[in-house]
Amino acid sequence: MTDENEVMTNTSADSRKGQGGDPGAEPPASSWLGQGEAAKHRRADALFRWLATGSGIAVVSAVSLIGVFLLVQAWPSLQANNANFLFSSEFDTRDAENLRFGIRDLLVVTVMSSAFALVIAMPLALGIALFLTQYAPPAVRRPFGYIIDTLAAVPSIVYGLWGIFVLGPFLVPVALWMNRNLGWIPIFATGNVSIKGGGTIFTAGIVLAVMILPIITSVTREVFRQTPVKHIEGALALGATRWEMIRTTVLPFGRSGYIAGSMLGLGRALGETVAVLVVLRIASSPATFSIFDGGYTFASLIASAAHEFVHPLPTGAYIAAGLVLFILTFVVNAIARTIANGKMQRL
């Protein structure tokens, strides 16, 4: 422990000296820690610890304050609500005297589109990350990685427009086929908007999948790359094939990172606003739990009404929806963490 400290302070002292441009005053390594110097280093140590702790506290308190703010703003509207907040699919805030809003459909659309996106993106991201770290020749790795990362830099409005104008029409025959042949399964049944229009959760989910792909991929790739070489070599030396080696070393080692990356991606999908707003058609009847439904997600509903936030009561209704999204994200992350940790311990 002391050794470590000494090494750390040593390097930091060195770099300070380097900056000060005073290399001639370097004392012999064994005796340089004078009395005054030691106090100085203890202060630096304490300062650093406070900075780190402060950062941690700042994040936690910011998140808590957001939660408190949402709750305070939403409370009066929740009190004035004339519909069931959890189970109503109405969202009518036109009349401040008679607010009727519920989150049923918002929750259904948000969860279904994000879950669908995750179902598509997770296996793909795993494949890409394995390819980049285990299979791809080094010459391909770098440019390929850049291309994936570039996906993350595309603005979401571009994804939205691509989704509704290019991908949506392109997917219509696929969607119709699925609806015709798999329609007996509830989630492929005819939903509350027209499949031919393309503005369904099906389209939105695929757009979201493309959007979260680079996030999951880059986290997973970095974790896979950290797999101890000794483990890999050990597996190969025991006669494992490449796939067996991946299964016994890379995957167990990277599992928690993979899940953490997927959760980052899920967070992005749950909160994605503009792309979903542009893609999804708005239904005039309640959601039917089909991927061919349309409607609003929490985030897209808030965005669609943002310019009308004038009166506090209707505004509070939207903030209440935001609060639910906040809690939803929190719960999903907590569950995912638990799963990831549980798996880690078992292995």
Binding site: V193, G199, V278, R281, A283, S284
Partner: protein, 370 residues
């Protein structure tokens, strides 16, 4: 190296060309078919105005013509929405406001406006008219199928759900209508277009609509898309769709547009500058004297032969007499340009130029501003 350089040059050339094109089109808006009119340019050099985004493109054109006529004079129009247009005007932050709907007397807006105008009455001047098209997507069916108010009411409230419904077939003898479901597309955001369309349905369809008016769609059927561009592209991509769009968006998307049979019965009327102009010319006023507040029922329920009833009016809200004469002179000059030379070629931007009789009426009112 050579290739990068040549590409860079190409890029530069392209961007310069783009820039030139952009400048060119700007000037075109100002100068198409308009020689700078000869006007006595008086009053304040800069006017502030804000409001309706439905008239933003027309306003850009008016301002260009005004600037061409009056050097150093300009109007800053901020298309922040009708609500903001009214409240900015009432707070005296702007010299005039643009709004899709008149001041609400019950909400005290008229009284507030009188106070803002130093005790003088506010006037509504309907300077910009934009027609609403009934757009649809039926492959293999000719353009301009005929629909009337009651049938539109039934379609948009979900009572008529198929294109070969007898109610539609009756109006279109000899047209083979497909056995296809109707997908109603509505505006999912709050919009003046929706409000005006629903007011039209209330007037022209009566009990066959019965869902009331307002800025959000009340029909209870179909699916929503955001903004005019959203509904227009939704119609384009959805077979069997029907929607209501500002004319320019339906034109840009090359959508099929229905002919409308107005409340007088008679022949189906196609949406043209003339047919919409006929409805405007026949409009009656709800305001007194030079306050040209329109009686919208007289447009939506027009019985004039050859008049297209679905026209959205947007007002300039002004003071009849301004506390500051410099401002009054400038507002007067600007609006007289707007209602005369500014109206030329306005149809290129999806608006209906004021028909001549109406223009006279407007000019009289503008002249009376002091």
């Amino acid at each position: 190296m050579l290739s990068t350089r040549s590409m860079r040059t190409a890029g530069l050339v392209a961007s310069v060309a783009l820039l030139a094109a952009a400048c060119g089109s700007d000037e075109n808006v100002g100068q198409t078919g308009v020689d700078a009119p000869e006007i006595d340019c008086k009053g304040a050099e800069t006017l502030a105005a804000s409001g309706s985004s439905a008239q933003a493109n027309a306003m850009t054109r008016f301002i260009n013509v005004y600037q061409a006529a009056c050097e150093n004079h300009t109007v800053n129009y901020n298309s922040s929405g009708s609500g903001a247009g009214v409240s900015d005007f009432l707070a005296a932050q702007t010299e005039f406001g643009g709004s899709d709907s008149p001041l609400d007397a019950e909400a005290g807006e008229v009284a507030d406006a009188r106070e803002r105008c130093g005790g003088n009455d506010p006037w509504h001047l309907p300077a910009v008219f934009g027609p609403i098209a009934i757009s649809y997507n039926l492959e293999g069916v000719q353009d301009g199928i005929a629909l009337d108010g009651p049938t539109l009411g039934k379609i948009f409230s979900g009572e008529v759900t198929s294109w070969d419904d007898p109610a539609i077939a009756e109006l279109n003898e000899g047209v083979e209508l497909p056995d296809q479901d109707i997908t109603v597309i509505f505006r999912s955001d709050e919009s003046g277009t929706t409000d005006n369309f629903q007011q039209y349905l209330q007037t022209a369809a009566g009990d066959d609509w019965g869902q009331g008016a307002g800025k959000t769609f009340n029909g209870g059927v179909g699916e929503g898309a955001k903004g005019n561009e959203g509904t227009a592209s939704a119609v384009a991509s959805t077979p069997g769709a029907v929607s209501y769009n500002e004319w320019s968006f339906a034109q840009q998307r090359d959508l099929q547009m229905a002919s409308v049979i107005n409340s007088g019965g008679g022949e189906p009327v196609e949406l043209t500058v003339e047919s919409a102009g006929a409805a405007i010319d026949a409009a009656e006023f709800a305001g007194d004297g030079n306050d040209l507040r329109l009686d919208l029922d007289s447009i939506y329920g027009t019985e004039t032969e050859g008049a297209y009833p679905l026209v959205l009016a947007t007002y300039e809200i002004v003071c009849s007499t301004y506390p500051d004469t410099e401002v009054a002179e400038a507002v007067k000059t600007f609006l007289s340009v707007a209602v005369t030379d500014g109206q030329q070629n306005l149809e290129e931007h999806g608006y209906i130029p004021l028909p001549s009789k109406f223009e006279e009426r407007m000019t009289t009112a503008v002249e009376a501003i002091s």
